[in-house]
Subunit: 321 residues, 2 copies
């Protein structure tokens, strides 16, 4: 007899992630029961990974478990929220215990790192796809939204950009790189580090924030549209990893602008605020890179070597050719 | 140019469902922002529909929108929770506006009926599958769990059983029925009515509750396992629709026991409680049918014409052959 649905849930998904006192009833009933903290708003998000769209067939299950949670943690990071409870909906063609075990390991390790409890979910047969829902908390009125940017704000990003997109080019054989660079870029794609702590440090500091999942250019456009302004980006300021520079040379900045799957934060900070990171927030804010400025004129102007440069890109869209 | 992801979201999913004052920020940012009510626990669930597993290719999209929400409403009903906020994760092979419009109509109509706001979600290209997450509220300590049944409790179910399973047999050509019976059974499959109001009426009345999604027999077994007891079921008491009786005749009770996709409630009530439904709960509790009794001896004993009868069934399991 093949492994049953109930056996898989009991063996791999019960008590996965952090143990939390606010979980009254976790995996195993019709719904989870949870105690929300007083004085906080809930931040709630969902994101999915689909085979053939977000990952190739045969992708390492541990990476998929990590990424499925990481992309949702990144959404909460962009709101400045503290993550708490996750639901997992997993469709898979068969019950491969080794696969599920590795998947759960990847999911569980990241969940424990950020204090997330898996409180429920759903298993179904079907083409492989993974959907995670994540709930977190943010004090009333302090969430980082997309619509708070104002002309004059400095634009910052966390980490380095374009690495995950380069990993996909490598995988498709459209790029070559030295083995250490390949390894670095591949890990950046397979194990993105959600910027949860940076997001928390940006509360009360940033006026707008978004996570970069569809590429900096496309996601910054969303902030600009919500905030009703435009931006000037200094291309030479874009933070690029040595591996990306090595693999792409002069053209690296284009991938940093257009590449998806980065899961870094892009935020807008009033110049007066940016100069004074204080206390516990310092190490996280010091890791941000200033890449440009908001302005009232709409659109994104790119500056390279003190001249305006051209760039055409429509951002990733699932349903636009 | 094909319809873009953002256009679909703006056109079909923004402000879908009920307008709720506790939704601070809905569709359109990295996460939704919500205000949880004081003194309540949150009940949180997720359930999915996968093409080829839960519905056939070409199934009517309005029904899919309805069912995707209904199966989650049913989970909250089984906890006695009041539904509030939904997230929708939709994977589809292409952006067919007519399809999406009908899907959203089905989802939205049911959401408005039960006061549910769609607060966020995710669209992706991929094989058609629909995952919904639903959050609701229940006063502290009043949720209907699976583990509260005690020997001597009466077992009740809502509605009629087996209709959805009969609809699937009709669809596969393994059953025939008159056109009115076909129509009735098909609607029971395509538009299940989640027993949200019954679930609320059962708070403080039932000691255990579950929703019947994998068949009465399999789901009652889950209650028995959690509650540490067994049950006697009176087969002649199973509530059967006239259409099911007409189509299946003498064998109808087997489908009522084993058939999935009913989305009715099964609950256990101490006899002293069952006799006194009071106030607003009366119409909902009067619609329940008593089908048996919990006992300390484990297992399910079926009684038919005052004799013990045999029944072998393992319940639906996605990964067991």
């Amino acid at each position: 007899m093949a492994t049953s649905e109930t056996q898989i849930i009991q063996r791999f998904f019960r008590d996965l992630g952090a143990l939390r006192a606010d979980v009254v009833l976790g995996v195993g009933d019709d719904a989870a029961l949870l105690t929300a903290p007083a004085g906080m708003q809930l931040a709630m998000t969902t994101d999915a990974l689909v085979e053939g769209v977000h990952f190739r067939g045969g992708a390492p299950p541990r990476s998929l478990g990590h990424r499925a949670l990481a992309i949702n943690l990144s959404d909460l990071a962009a709101m400045g929220a503290t993550p708490a409870w996750a639901l997992l909906s997993l469709n898979m063609p068969q019950a491969d215990e080794a696969w599920v075990g590795e998947f759960a390991n990847g999911f569980g390790a990241l969940a424990r790192e950020y204090g997330v409890a898996l409180v429920g979910g759903n298993l179904s047969r079907g083409p492989l796809s993974i959907t995670v829902q994540l709930v977190g908390f943010v004090p009333h009125g302090t969430a980082l939204r997309r619509d708070g940017g104002r002309p004059g704000d400095d634009i910052y990003v966390s980490g380095t950009l374009g690495d995950a997109a380069a990993a996909l080019l490598l995988e498709r054989g459209e790029l070559s790189a030295t083995p250490p660079a390949q390894e670095f870029l591949r890990r950046r794609f397979e194990y993105p580090q959600p910027r949860v702590l940076q997001g928390l440090a940006l509360r009360g500091v940033a006026r707008a924030c978004i996570d970069i999942s569809d590429g900096l250019y496309a996601d910054l456009e969303r902030v600009l549209q919500a905030s009703g302004c435009g931006a000037v980006l200094e291309v030479e300021s874009l933070p690029l990893s040595p591996a990306l520079r090595e693999a792409l040379g002069e053209g690296a900045w284009r991938l940093a602008l257009a590449g998806g799957e980065d899961y870094e934060l892009c935020c807008c900070i009033a110049p007066a605020r940016a100069l004074k990171p204080a206390g516990a927030a310092v190490p996280y804010l010091e890791g941000l890179t200033r890449i440009g400025t908001l302005r009232s004129e709409p659109g994104i102007e790119l500056r390279l070597a003190n001249a305006v440069t051209q760039f055409s890109h429509s951002g990733f869209d699932h349903f636009r050719e």
